[in-house]
Amino acid sequence: MKLSHREEAGVAILEPRGKIMGGPDATLLHDQLHEFIKEGKLKVIIDLSGVDWMNSTGLGILISGLTTLRNNKGELKLANVTEKIQSLLTITKLVTVFDAHDSIDEAIKSF
């Protein structure tokens, strides 16, 4: 997984690419989120358009990110969720926990 980030309208946007599989990926995402929290950026969107697949560890990373932000009174939203990940979120019923949007703009508006 490769990870880049940018900012738009006061919202931090994380753009992972590839497969989210755990191991180093977890640390990478986790560290970036903590960086945001330290900088006071508590509105975060993860743009999943570049992620075609994730395993249960990858899902765990997303859950952990969500929990971390919530514990710091922040919010995590997902955008551009691919079909496969959408079905994963549906099966696990995590759709009820994650706020998923079809585009970045929609996600930004929802804050």
């Binding site: 249960s56 765990g60 859950i63 952990s64 969500l66 099966i91 696990t92 019923k93 995590l94 926990v97």
Partner: protein
């Protein structure tokens, strides 16, 4: 007097050199035939000048030649002439063993007969005081006993006197014949040789032996034939030169042949022979003086005093000579053979010993033992980066110059650049700002040997000067270089070995964990009238994150659960155990299913880190009512295939476990009919990939179940596993894989069943 003393000293020196060469060649390989034959030959050759020296010290022989009237010990001196048959032996085995030497296993020793005869018979039997063979001279009892044998005795006496006469005149001829035989043998050997190096060696011998033969002929053969009568001193010199030329060339050839270090041997020989000669000279002086004093005091002129003094000399000389020999052996006699042995022995240690402490101690034993260095100590890199001083295998009294050596000391930094041992004086530039350097100098350090593991300076070996006081030679430094390299390799080995052991232990622990997990899995599938269950579990690693179980519920239902914990390995297995423990406790209570799952979720959420979660499908099967009541907590949807071929997913439930503590769950029910099949599985099955990257997938699963729903439950399971592994080309994937299949026996019933909705 003084001339004969000097000649005696020179004789002794030559004798000692020959003895020493013999010793060195023998020690080089005591079991080698060439070695011991050559050594014995050199020993006999050394006897010549030594006896000559003693003879001179005792004064001129009463009569020249091998005359029977000379004192007894003079004939013992001719023992050295054993050199000549031994020379023939040498020619038989050098440079290659002659077939005669092997064929004449015992017969070959007959060549010693003339010399043994010479020494034993002539010395002891043909003496005037033992001249009992002449019946005319017999008196008393002997005459009575022996006179009847007078005729025979007279004949024997005649025979002996003829033999003796011949012997006296021509014994030298026998020796010359032996030399010629040896020369001829060597010459034939030379002609057969093709190796240029061996030919060079033998060529030298072929010059040296005739040279020696000529000189020996001049000294003994010509005088005994009455052709030329050289002065005594010329004769002695000729003999010595002959010995040096003949035996010296032989020794040289052997040394070159066996790759001995000639410089070292020559140096040792000189040191040893000079010290021996000085000692002998000192003794001789003392004996002369004492002997003269005794003679003057007693006014006696008898050889008895000389003989007894010689005896005393030998008695006193022996221990001193032994000590000198010992010193020479310990300090100088350290040829390549010894280095070879040291390295070979240490290599064996490296290959078999895996304790670093033992390796270090053995090394220290080598250094302070065979190499004979006064003081030495190791410093090895510790955990804090510094070099801790160790004194493995050293005497308690030895004091090291420091307890610990800093890694940033300039001397250490210099050493880190060194590949080979360095003299402490060569480190003086680095030593300018060093705290260690002056302390090392004070301690008496001479040589510093870096111990390198690849590019890292793992340790340092500090050596004081050798006990002998000699400088470290090129060979010494090479030896240390080789030994420390071996030590470094041994230390690396022992570390790798320890790591391998640790890994093995860890794997064993994982195996135990796996055994525990397997034992936690149900031993059998529940069964009852009208239905059958089958299950399969394949953990991807030693311990997995999948889990399934059956329960007997208080109300008589059969509980079944399949769960998948995020992650793999031991952390996942721990969560599995936790899930199992909670569930087993909860299902005993007569609680509604959603309440049970909520409790499990709550506990898992509170006790695990946020990124850990589990998907779980739980179902209670009521065989009497053929009803399935279930909760799906974020798990892959189990598939129900009806007898008629329609499919349903079991979705109802709630969020995966371990994410939200207050998540709520709902249950759903489904009535089943005979012939229906329920498949509960984990994503390890649906996400199996074939080499093309294609997933096994839910659609394929449904198709499989529809096609095979008529089979008995075991057959469905086996075929499913076979098809799935065939799809993945025999590999059951990196993920855990778990399956439970429930089938209701159709019992020949065939009814059109209205599908029940589960939502």
């Amino acid at each position: 007097m003084s001339v004969s003393l000097i000649t005696a000293v020179i004789y002794v020196i030559f004798g000692a050199v020959l003895f020493l060469l013999g010793t060195v060649i023998f020690r080089e390989n005591p079991r080698g035939r060439v070695n011991h034959i050559t050594a014995l030959m050199l020993f006999f050759a050394g006897l010549g000048p030594v006896f000559g020296a003693i003879g001179m010290a005792l004064g001129p022989e009463p009569t020249s030649g091998y005359l029977s009237s000379s004192p007894l010990y003079y004939n013992v001196f001719y023992l050295w002439e054993m050199l000549f048959p031994q020379l023939v032996f040498f020619a038989l085995v050098f440079p290659v063993v002659h077939p005669w030497f092997v064929r004449w296993r015992r017969l070959k020793y007959l060549i010693f007969v003339p010399h043994v005869f010479h020494i034993v018979w002539v010395s002891f039997l043909a003496r005037p005081e033992l001249d009992f063979l002449d019946p005319d001279k017999l008196t008393g009892v002997l005459k009575v006993i022996l006179s009847p044998l007078g005729y025979i005795l007279r004949l024997a006496s005649l025979f002996f006197s003829v033999l003796l006469e011949f012997h006296t005149k021509f014994f030298s001829v026998i020796n010359l014949v032996y030399i010629m035989i040896a020369f001829w043998l060597l010459l034939t050997g030379y002609r057969k040789l093709t190796n240029p190096r061996q030919r060079r060696q033998l060529k030298l011998l072929l010059w040296g032996i005739p040279g020696a033969m000529g000189m020996y002929a001049m000294a003994f053969l010509l005088p005994s034939l009455g052709v030329w009568q050289p002065p005594e001193i010329v004769r002695y010199i000729l003999v010595v030169l002959a010995l040096v030329l003949g035996v010296g060339t032989i020794a040289w050839s052997i040394i070159r042949h066996q790759f001995l270090d000639v410089r070292l041997i020559v140096r040792q020989s000189l040191v040893f022979s000079i010290s021996s000669a000085l000692l002998v000279a000192a003794y001789l002086l003392v004996i002369m003086q004492v002997s003269g004093l005794i003679k003057d005091a007693l006014d006696l002129e008898t050889p008895l005093i000389d003989v007894s003094l010689i005896g005393l000399l030998l008695i006193f000389f022996q221990p001193v000579k032994e000590q000198i020999d010992d010193l020479v052996t310990r300090f100088f006699l350290r040829d390549k053979a010894d280095y070879r042995t040291i390295i070979e022995r240490y290599s064996a240690d490296i290959a078999s010993v895996f304790q670093p402490d033992v390796l270090k101690r053995r090394m220290m034993e080598v250094i302070t033992g065979p190499v004979y260095i006064e003081r030495a100590f190791f410093a090895f890199r510790g955990d804090n980066g510094g070099y801790a001083v160790e004194r493995k295998g050293l005497a308690e009294s030895m004091i090291a110059p420091a307890e610990e050596i800093a890694a940033d000391d300039p001397v250490v930094e210099c050493l880190a650049q060194c590949e080979r041992p360095v003299f402490i004086d060569d480190l003086s530039e680095c030593g300018a700002d060093s705290q260690l350097y002056p302390r090392l100098k004070e301690w008496g350090c001479r040589l510093v040997v870096p111990i390198r593991e690849r590019d890292d300076l793992a340790g340092i070996l500090f050596l004081s000067e050798k006990v002998s006081g000699f400088r470290y030679s090129y060979e010494d430094i090479n030896l240390f270089s080789v030994l420390t390299n071996q030590l470094a390799a041994g230390l690396t080995n022992s570390r790798l070995y320890a790591e391998a052991l640790e890994k093995q232990k860890l794997e064993e622990e994982l195996n135990v964990a796996r055994q525990i997990q397997i034992q936690l899995l149900p031993q059998s599938n529940p069964a009852g009238p009208g239905y059958a269950l089958s299950s399969f579990a394949h953990p991807s690693r030693q311990v997995g994150g999948d889990y399934y179980d059956y329960f007997e519920r208080p109300d008589g239902k059969i509980g079944m659960v399949v769960a998948d914990v995020s992650g793999k390995g031991v952390p996942a297995a721990l969560l599995v155990s936790q899930l199992q423990a909670i569930l087993r406790a909860e299902v005993r209570m007569d609680k509604p299913l959603p309440a049970i799952i909520s409790t499990v979720n709550q506990i898992v959420t509170e006790t695990t880190s946020p990124e850990k979660f589990a998907t779980l499908f739980y179902a209670d099967w009521d065989p009497g009512r053929r009803r399935l009541t279930y909760v799906n907590a974020g798990h892959n949807y189990p598939i129900v295939v009806r007898r008629g071929g329609t499919c349903h997913d079991l979705k109802a439930g709630g969020l995966v476990l371990g994410v939200l503590a207050d998540a709520t769950y709902e249950q759903a029910q489904m009535e089943l009919d005979p012939g229906d099949v329920v498949l509960i599985y984990t994503d390890g099955l649906s996400e199996l990939h074939n080499p093309a990257g294609e997933e096994f997938g839910e659609e394929r699963l449904q198709r499989f179940l529809i096609d095979n729903r008529h089979l008995p439950v075991e057959a469905i399971k086996n075929k499913l596993i076979r098809d799935a592994s065939r799809f993945a080309l025999g590999e059951l994937g990196f993920d855990d894989l778990t399956i439970i299949i429930l089938k209701l026996e159709d019992g020949g019933l065939s009814t059109d069943v209205v599908p029940h909705s589960d939502e």
